[in-house]
């Protein structure tokens, strides 16, 4: 019954055929089969958890993570779901304390090392660290290694990866200092686990994480140069396609700092500024930035002095840093610490820089640039892992021994040999029940005030049975020594007041908000049309009539104009329209584009936003797993519900220019879709019965059927429908209503002057509507309505021009940087 007991019992059995699990320290069960000290206090609740409970909890976790939109891009793949195991890694206070002291000392040492390497280089001159370990490392950033540019505190937030040796001692596997990721995931893990295992969570008496975020926020504010009352802090992201985009947006949002990209920033007179659209149209205004929490690797941070082909950086950033006009966290060049070649020399460096012995031992490592180290590594190639000092750790994996030996002898200083730690294991949920899997622990250490403080907690990564890249994460629970201990040992930190990032409405953000509005509307309209078409198809199937097929063809044609044609079979075609993300114009395609624009502004959105996608994803899965035709309508309906929930999210948004530009995008899209639908369905006459069926479908797809019935008592004719969908100022689905909404939103945008081109275009369109008589539009000429056709075509063209004019005026961020002299 009890999942933990079963797990413990299985461990005491001789391992059958699974060599890798032998000799590993188990995080939960001791060698005698009883629970470890950390779990003893939880035993009562923990032992009561059955495999069935864990199965349910595992499902809940997946759902919560999907609703929160938590993603992670595995190397070489797109964004996928973040995976979290239900069973936390639990560490009690007596085990944690030495780790905490060791991590604090390590960060102090790494900071001092950075100051020395980019300044005096005493350790290199004295031979304490071989010069080649540093000079051969890609992270050594010479453009900031200048006497005039010494940053006294280059390391603000460090991450250290740890694993246990066979004796159960934590050993350092490596440090992350370039732009450490994961603290956002750690926080999200906690949120989810505390919701799915509430009893266990309450029982545990563990350190909550929030105060650490408050401390991080305060540390960033205080790291501003000089004595600024209200420094501007931003989080610099490489963009939504970064592996850890979720983590970046989470941190920005949790800290209340705007998430920006390189193109949002510009250097003037050696200062870094945000480009804020202002009164002067395209030019806008500049707002000084004082602190940059950097998630872009140093090499990509400045196309002027670092990689010239980078579009992720800010030209002139290095100069601003050297002049001390902006504080970059961590400092440019901190990546040199992500270097296993340093590990053998840290004990001596610690003595030299801090005058004390190094507390936390690293995994035994030999640098091959040292002849003795090379000799040792060559003699033990069978059991050591060989890694380059920079780049991917597994770059040499799978190389034949001869080739490996050749590489080592060729450039020995580029490589290290490392012992393979057995790591500890912890129960990890699989559909077959919990199984032991190896794990590593990522810890975070922050410079807060005058000292370094480790996060009391962390992020555990679970690896496959044979090691390799992480397969899922675990929450890390560090238990309090006494129930009254302050969380994180921080009693004096002031809770944050601003929960949401102060919006920075740089042109890129406005553009993303605009497309948010457009795609949300586009997907909604498309779903309604699919539902209407599917209803017609169902009707036609059950009651074959001569007119049904023709009406259906007209509506399908409307869909095909939007998304092309892929299948002749109707159900196949509907499924494809809903599910095929590679089909331009499909629902799935629109949803992906919508998600993309939302990711770019994630820090400014309510977390509820992502529930919409949780719902559409589940509806898509349901459709994939059901062959029945009725599931098409069912799933389309549930997708529609998901998308409509975005309206609820946006209703609570601050009415800033971002909201208005989204509103303008939505209204403009609605006008465009209505014009398009009318063009596809009403300009050709097909006989009274067909026309009536088609118009009914149009009314259904535009959610205007009820209004129409009330007004025209079920008498459906083109003039009435056109009046309702084009001219009616009170119908929120009409073109006129949408254009008036567009106008109202436009007025509220910076850069709108009353006579800006988008404003003039929208006035022209409204005037055009005023001049037009429905009676004239419906006039018959041959088989069609030529006036209507001309009118709708011209109108659609003008709507496109309006969108272009908005982009030109409000979203233009200027040309991308290019190298001087490049052709």
């Amino acid at each position: 019954m009890s999942a933990l007991r079963d797990y413990a019992a299985a461990l005491s059995q001789p391992a059958l055929g699974d060599e890798s699990e032998r000799g590993r320290y188990d995080e939960v069960v001791g060698p005698d089969g009883s629970l470890r000290a950390a779990w003893k206090g939880l035993a009562e609740v923990a032992v009561g958890i059955t495999a069935g409970d864990l199965h349910r909890v595992d499902g809940d976790i997946a759902r919560f993570l999907a609703d929160d939109g938590v993603t992670y891009a595995r190397p070489g793949q797109g964004q996928g779901a973040w995976r979290l195991d239900p069973v936390p890694l639990v560490i009690d206070a007596p085990s944690w304390t030495p780790l905490e002291t060791g991590l604090a000392q390590r960060a102090e040492l790494l900071n001092a090392l950075l100051v020395d390497l980019y300044g005096e280089q005493r350790l290199l001159a004295d031979g304490i660290i071989p010069a080649a370990v540093v000079f051969a490392h890609a992270g050594f950033t010479r453009v900031v290694a200048r006497p005039a540019a010494i940053d006294p505190r280059p390391l603000v937030l460090a991450a250290t990866d740890l694993g246990r040796d066979a004796a159960g001692e934590w050993r350092v596997l490596g440090d992350r200092a370039e732009a450490p990721s994961g603290i956002g995931y750690a926080m999200e893990n906690r949120r989810v686990i505390s919701r799915v295992l509430p009893e266990l969570y309450r029982e545990a008496g563990l350190h909550r994480m929030e105060p650490y975020f408050w401390a991080l926020r305060s540390a960033l504010i205080q790291s501003a140069q000089g004595d600024l009352a209200d420094p501007r802090v931003v989080v610099l992201s490489p963009g939504t396609h970064s592996e850890t985009a979720y983590d970046q947006a989470f941190v920005a949002s949790a800290l209340g700092f705007p998430l920006v990209q390189g193109s949002d920033l510009v250097v003037r007179d050696g200062w870094v500024n945000l480009k804020v659209p202002g009164g002067g149209g395209g030019a806008g205004r500049l707002e000084r930035v004082d602190v940059i929490l950097r998630r872009v690797d140093a090499a990509w941070s400045d196309p002027l002095e670092l990689r010239g082909d980078s579009q992720l950086g800010v030209a002139g950033l290095v100069e601003a840093v050297r002049r001390g006009r902006v504080r970059v966290v961590n400092g440019l060049g901190a990546g040199v610490l992500e270097n296993p070649g340093l590990l053998p020399y840290l004990p001596a460096a610690c003595e030299a820089l801090l005058g004390e012995p190094l507390r936390l031992a690293s995994v035994p490592t030999w640098w091959c640039g040292d002849p003795d180290g090379l000799g040792h590594v060559l003699d033990h190639l069978d059991r050591l892992a060989v890694r380059p000092i920079d780049g991917a750790a597994d770059a040499l994996d799978g190389l034949a021994v001869d080739r490996l030996r050749e590489r080592l002898l060729d450039e020995p200083h580029r490589y290290v040999g490392q012992e393979r730690l057995p790591l500890s294991q912890s129960p990890t949920w699989t559909p077959a029940g919990p199984v032991p899997r190896p794990l590593t622990l990522r810890t975070f250490t922050l410079r807060y005030g005058s000292a370094y403080r480790p996060l009391v907690g962390g992020l555990a990564n679970v690896h496959g049975a044979d090691g390799g890249r992480p397969v899922c994460a675990k929450d890390v629970w560090v238990l309090k020594a006494a129930p009254g201990d302050p969380d994180q040992g921080l009693s004096g930190v002031l809770p944050m007041t601003a929960a949401r990032s102060t919006a920075v409405l740089v042109p890129r953000v406005l553009e993303d908000m605009f497309w948010f509005g457009r795609y949300a509307e586009r997907v909604e309209d498309l779903l309604r049309l699919v539902i209407a078409a599917h209803a017609l198809a169902d009707d036609y199937r059950t009651r074959p009539r001569s007119t049904g097929g023709e009406s259906l063809a007209v509506v399908m044609d409307g869909l095909h104009r939007l998304a092309g044609r892929r299948h002749d079979d109707l159900d196949e075609e509907f499924r494809s329209l809903l599910l095929d993300a590679d089909r331009t114009g499909s629902v799935a395609h629109g949803l992906a584009a919508l998600r993309d624009s939302l990711l770019g502004v994630r820090d400014q959105l309510s977390p509820d936003t992502w529930r919409a996608f949780g719902a559409t994803d589940r509806a898509a899965e349901a459709l994939q797993s059901s062959p029945h035709s009725h599931q098409i309508a069912e799933s389309a309906g549930r997708m529609l519900t998901g998308i409509l929930s975005l309206q609820g999210v946006t209703a609570s948004m601050i009415r800033d220019p971002g909201w208005h530009v989204m509103g303008a995008g939505r209204a403009l899209e609605r006008a465009t879709q209505v014009a398009h639908l009318l063009r596809a369905t009403t300009t050709v006459r097909r006989g009274i019965d067909v026309d009536r069926e088609v118009l009914n479908a149009v009314l259904a797809a535009t959610e205007s059927a009820v209004t129409h019935r009330r007004r025209y008592r079920g008498y459906v004719r083109p003039a009435g429908v056109l009046d309702l969908l084009l001219m009616d100022a009170d119908n929120p689905r009409s073109v006129r209503f949408s254009l008036e909404a567009t106008r109202d939103h436009l007025t509220r945008l910076p850069g709108s002057t009353g006579s800006s081109r988008p404003e003039r275009l929208v006035e022209d369109l409204l005037a055009d509507l005023d001049r037009t008589e429905v009676a004239a539009l419906v006039a018959i000429g041959g088989v069609g309505r030529p006036n209507l056709e001309v009118f709708l075509d011209g109108f659609a063209l003008q709507l496109g021009r309006l969108a272009d004019a908005m982009a030109h005026l409000h979203f233009a961020s200027g040309p991308a940087p290019r190298q001087l002299g490049a052709p």
């Binding site: 080649a132 003037r268 002049r323 640039g369 040309p815 290019r818 001087l820």
Partner: protein, 303 residues
Amino acid sequence: MRYRVSHTTTYSYDDDVTDSLGVAHLVPRELPWQAVSSYALHVDPTPGDVSHDVDFYGNTATYFQVTTPHRSLVVEGVSEVDVTTPYADAALLSRPWEYARPLVRPELSGAWLATDFALASALVEHTDEARAYAAESLTRGRPLGEAVTDLVHRIHTEFRYDEAATTVTSTVPEIFAERAGVCQDFAHLTLAFLRSHGLAARYVSGYLATEPPPGRERVIGADASHAWVAVWAGDDQWLAVDPTNDQWVGDRYVTVAWGRDYGDVPPVKGVIFSEAKRSTLLVSVDVAPLGESDASAVGTAGS
């Protein structure tokens, strides 16, 4: 020798550039064998922001930003320098070349600083081909000075000077395949030859004063920037040699800056923000002797 050096780089565009940021290495270094009596750097349009700083390798680097819209950008460096022939320590040069390998002998005085120049760099790849080529000159126990002189001589003999053969981004394998290049290529090639055997060598950017053919006037602006290499001999001693002209560097060479390769010390590099489709680049260099000239010197080609 005393020279007045002027180096003008002009970029022209077919549309407005709203923002230009640049870094220039145009101010000659102060060295035991080179005194800089004056220097000036002009940028047109006048930059809103200019600053001079000393970079990691001790060169003067000038940062500038022009934010007035422009269709042409002119960067001009003018300096006056006195140069003597650099001193070469005969004792160090007569030691076997194997002594001067900083990674093998990190304990030697100055080795830790020279290490940076013994490693592969972005534009200097240590290919097997390069190593094999250099091995013929770097024979066991051969004195450093002799081995390097021989290597430089072979490069001059076996590689052709040809401006059409390569571009500013040519790699060591490409130059090797062409058996041709310009001074920058020969310098990179020499660096690959020396470094692939563990020697430390740096890329030096500067100028070589040229003499007009007999009976002709000196043509102003016809000179070019030049590049050569300096190999570490031990302590803080470096032997500067010019593979393009098959000679040791003397008092006709003005040293501006050095680094691991061209990428560390281009005379001007920058980033522009513009919708311009086309740009053209014009470089004009003039190295004018001041005071009495050394009429006996043999004219040699720059670049």
